[in-house]
């Protein structure tokens, strides 16, 4: 009789994560999660490595925190530096920064649904029953069959073995999703090409700099971006969003799983002309919207493998390794906002926008979709809700990116020059695809004196804090029904819907 169920490692996320849960028997012969722990299992020490370096190094070094969302780190660093240097990017530079980030959002959301999450829902072996004429599916069918016939050590690896469980049963639905999985590889690559049009290369853009970007704006560059954007729009409209809705239709339980604490935080993202973010900043606590106040952010290391047991503001906090500290179970710190654990990410961005006073673009675009599919805004706080908001955000972003492209002025400077101060401080707040991201920079004698990053998955996968409050993923797991403790597929679905990025969380 197991009382603990673990997923160690929890794969198909970025990085090293283990989930440990306590479970209890249910009346219907299943199990229910009663408590959960999120363990971040990797640490590199970026903040220590940045100390003493030239501040201009920071946007290159911090991009290497994460190969999935490097642009968000690069941009947070660039924004912190722009604040420290007292400059704003040139008009082209601001637009190009948005366009590089938009392309990375699109690729990140596509990767998350298809290549990370979909294998929790789709039965890859259904391809063996495929009888249609699609060449990719025929090839996959032959490959899986050959691998089984040949008695390979692990047939159809890396798609098998997997947890047993309730995958989709309909052959046609499965094959459609498997076909999309294959097509999504090409689509995410296209999105990376689009990011490289202004970003030089991906992952890890070298063109992103304080003041804008180094890539001059030309008609040829605009066309290179636009043609790919049009192709991605078609994919997202005709494949991505319909696929997510299809999965929602096949797994209606997902609307009731993974309910979070309903506290949401967004730093706002995609700076426009008036320096206002296109997706708004704010916080929602107990259903009530409030203006973002970065002074309310603290980091607590009580259960993290670092020295310290009281909350500190990121600008003053330190990262000193204490690997064997009693009671510590994760390399992730516990950030809190006015003391509350906060969910961040696409769902949080949408919930903050919905709760914000006055009309905004997100609300007016979201409500018709919810009405059309009979979903309430409150139901979005769930595993399926987290999946559904990503294609929606992607589609709105594609629309907006087309407008940013139109606003580019070929020949105008892509970057604004600047002077480097000996002493300065700056904060860069943005949103990574996975949620709120902040970089805090202090320069002394031309060098980085302190650098602190508070990262989306630090919020979502945070451990307990000094008051014993669990982090958002730990909370969302509680109540999850698990049919078979040896195959805790249901718990994995809850965690993966948050799109954890552990390399980011523990940088």
């Amino acid at each position: 009789m197991p009382e603990h169920v673990s997923i160690s490692p929890l794969t198909r996320i970025e990085g090293h994560l283990a989930i440990h849960t306590d479970v209890a028997r249910t009346a219907d012969n299943g199990w229910r999660v009663t408590a959960a722990r999120c363990e971040g299992e990797m640490f590199r020490g970026f903040e220590a490595i940045l100390r003493g370096r030239d501040p201009l190094d920071a946007q290159q070094i911090t991009q290497r925190i994460c190969g999935v969302c490097p642009i968000s780190h690069g941009l947070a660093s660039v924004m912190a530096q722009e604040a420290a240097y007292g400059i704003e990017p040139s008009p082209n530079g601001r637009l190009a920064q948005n366009l590089i980030l938009a392309a990375n959002y699109i690729q990140s959301h596509i990767v998350h649904f298809y290549h990370l999450a979909a294998l929790d829902f789709v039965d890859i072996t259904a391809v063996l029953a495929y009888t249609g004429k699609d060449r990719t599916l025929q090839e996959l069918k032959t490959w899986v069959q050959t691998s089984i016939d040949r008695k390979d050590l692990f047939p159809a690896a890396p798609f098998l073995p997997r947890y047993d469980g309730a995958y989709a049963t309909d052959v046609e639905a499965n094959c459609r999703l498997i076909g999309s999985y294959a097509e999504a590889f090409a689509m995410r690559r296209l999105a990376h090409e689009m990011a490289a049009v202004f970003g030089a290369k991906l992952p890890h853009s070298t063109a992103l700099v304080p003041g804008g970007c180094t890539q001059p704006v030309t008609g040829e560059r605009i066309l290179a971006y636009r043609s790919r954007l049009d192709r991605l729009r078609r994919f997202c409209e005709t494949v991505y969003l319909p696929d997510v809705l299809a999965v929602a239709g096949l797994f209606p339980d997902g609307w009731r799983q993974g309910r979070g604490q309903a506290n949401f935080l967004s730093f706002g993202v995609f700076r426009e002309e008036n320096d206002q973010p296109w997706i708004p900043a704010g916080a929602v606590i107990d259903g009530r919207w409030q203006q973002l106040d970065i002074a309310a952010i603290t980091e607590d290391a009580t259960c993290a493998r670092f020295a310290g047991d009281h909350p500190e503001h990121p600008a003053d906090s330190h990262t000193t390794v204490a690997a064997d500290k009693p009671g510590a179970y994760s390399w992730v710190k516990a950030p809190r906002y006015r003391g509350h654990p906060m969910e961040v990410g696409p769902l949080a961005r949408m919930m903050v926008a919905l709760a914000a006073p006055g009309p905004n673009r997100i609300t007016s675009a979201l409500q018709p979709v919810l009405n059309a599919h009979g979903i309430s805004a409150d139901q979005l706080n769930s595993t399926l809700g987290r999946h559904l908001v990503r294609p929606l955000e992607t589609l709105w972003l594609i629309e907006r990116a087309a407008a940013w492209l139109d606003a580019l002025r070929p020949g105008s400077p892509p970057a604004r020059d600047f002077a480097l101060p000996a002493h300065a401080t700056g904060v860069g707040l943005t949103e990574a695809p996975r949620g709120a991201l902040g970089h805090w920079l202090r320069i002394a004698d031309h060098r980085i004196a302190t650098y602190q990053c508070v990262v989306p998955t630090t919020w979502n996968c945070s451990p307990r804090d000094g008051a014993g409050r669990p982090g958002p993923v730990e909370h969302a797991l509680v109540g999850t029904r698990i049919a078979d403790p040896d195959n805790p597929l249901e718990a994995a679905r809850v965690v993966r819907a948050f799109d954890p990025c552990l390399a980011c969380a523990v940088h």
């Binding site: 198909r12 283990a18 020490g45 190094d57 050590l153 890396p158 030089a200 290369k201 991906l202 604004r416």
Partner: protein, 333 residues
């Protein structure tokens, strides 16, 4: 919904198909035509599961895995299904929990597999990278001794990279240094494929070479395959003429001239970036007027006082020696 129309044929590949694939790959990698049949053999050995691939992530950002997915000809679907016999990959594979350990242990005992490592390895704070309750150090030690070949992907795995940069709080090292520490033979087994991230063509090209013709010619100190890391970026730079005429860009976003005075590290960095470029040839650093930051170099990001960029006002705070940057005599290392 096929992905790379030029190359994707049928799943039950024939000998002739492999010959065609080998020739295409040799062309894509800008290798001499004689490499074609060799690479065909490598592709076939991988596809027939004679050579398996075990992919382990350490202190990594997953950027090299993401970069693999940017591969074209062959594209990612064919790569992760038929072509490279990928037994385990923690970002792409379906396996989770106990299955992961089972796969790593079982494949790890075989004789003929290629171990791909992404990311560095913490050697002092060993708990700074754990896989299923064991340290990466413990998991990797038998694998680097047992594997037929060890491919260290990206600059972190090759040389330690940013985790091993000055300040290095976890004692992070590259795979080569790790193999030395645990007494694993490197000569004829270790191949480093640096760059941050590694280039998809280096990843695929090196894997296929290892599975076919075998161990490539490598730099004796750096273990980098000479077919991909022979020439400096500066030597083949499209802005080389500006350098020769002493026309230099003066600030970020200035597209006119050589980027050396902004800090470009092309003279110290051996890559194929000028010919391959990035992301399907859409762009690359120098073309985008972005100085090379030396991300393939063994010293990438290593020293605090050796910044990526040169920007006038802070010259007194940092060591800006032209000779250090390989510029004094137009030297290539």
């Amino acid at each position: 919904m096929g992905e790379d129309e030029t190359m994707e044929t049928t799943a039950s590949l024939s000998r002739r198909d492999f010959l065609g694939l080998g020739a295409t790959l040799a062309a894509a990698l800008a290798l001499p035509a004689r490499f074609g049949p060799w690479l065909s053999e490598g592709l076939e050995n991988l596809a027939r599961q004679k050579t398996k691939v075990l992919w382990i992530q350490g202190q990594a950002c997953s950027g090299c895995s993401v970069s693999l997915l940017n591969s074209e000809n062959p594209g990612p679907v064919r790569l992760v299904t038929e072509l490279i016999s990928l037994q385990y990959h923690s970002t792409l594979g379906a396996a989770q929990g106990a299955d992961c350990v089972r796969i790593i242990d079982q494949v790890g005992r075989l004789d003929d597999y290629i171990l791909v490592c992404e990311g560095s390895i913490p050697t002092t704070v060993r708990s700074a990278c754990m896989i299923a309750g064991k340290t990466l150090y413990e998991r990797l030690e038998p694998l680097v001794k047992q594997a037929r070949y060890v491919l260290a992907l990206g600059s972190c795995a090759a040389f330690g990279g940013i985790p091993a940069a000055e300040g290095n709080p976890t004692g992070a090292v590259g795979v080569g240094e790790f193999m030395r520490l645990v007494g694993a033979r490197r000569r004829g087994r270790l191949v480093n494929a640096p760059l941050c991230p590694s280039h998809p063509k280096s990843i695929v090209g090196t894997l296929v070479h290892l599975a076919g013709p075998g161990y490539p010619d490598v730099d004796p100190e750096l273990f980098t395959p000479l077919m991909f890391y022979r020439h400096s970026t500066h030597d083949r730079c499209p802005r080389y003429h500006d350098y020769a005429r002493k026309v230099f860009a003066s600030h970020f976003g200035d597209d006119h001239g050589c980027l050396f005075k902004l800090g470009c590290l092309g003279p110290l960095t051996r890559t194929q970036c000028p010919s391959r470029q990035w992301n399907g040839g859409v762009n690359w650093c120098i073309r985008a007027a972005a100085p090379c930051i030396g991300c393939a170099s063994p010293d990438f990001a290593r020293r605090r006082d050796f910044p990526f960029y040169r920007k006038g006002e802070n010259h007194h705070a940092v060591d800006y020696d032209d000779h250090d940057r390989g510029g004094a005599n137009d030297a290539t290392p």
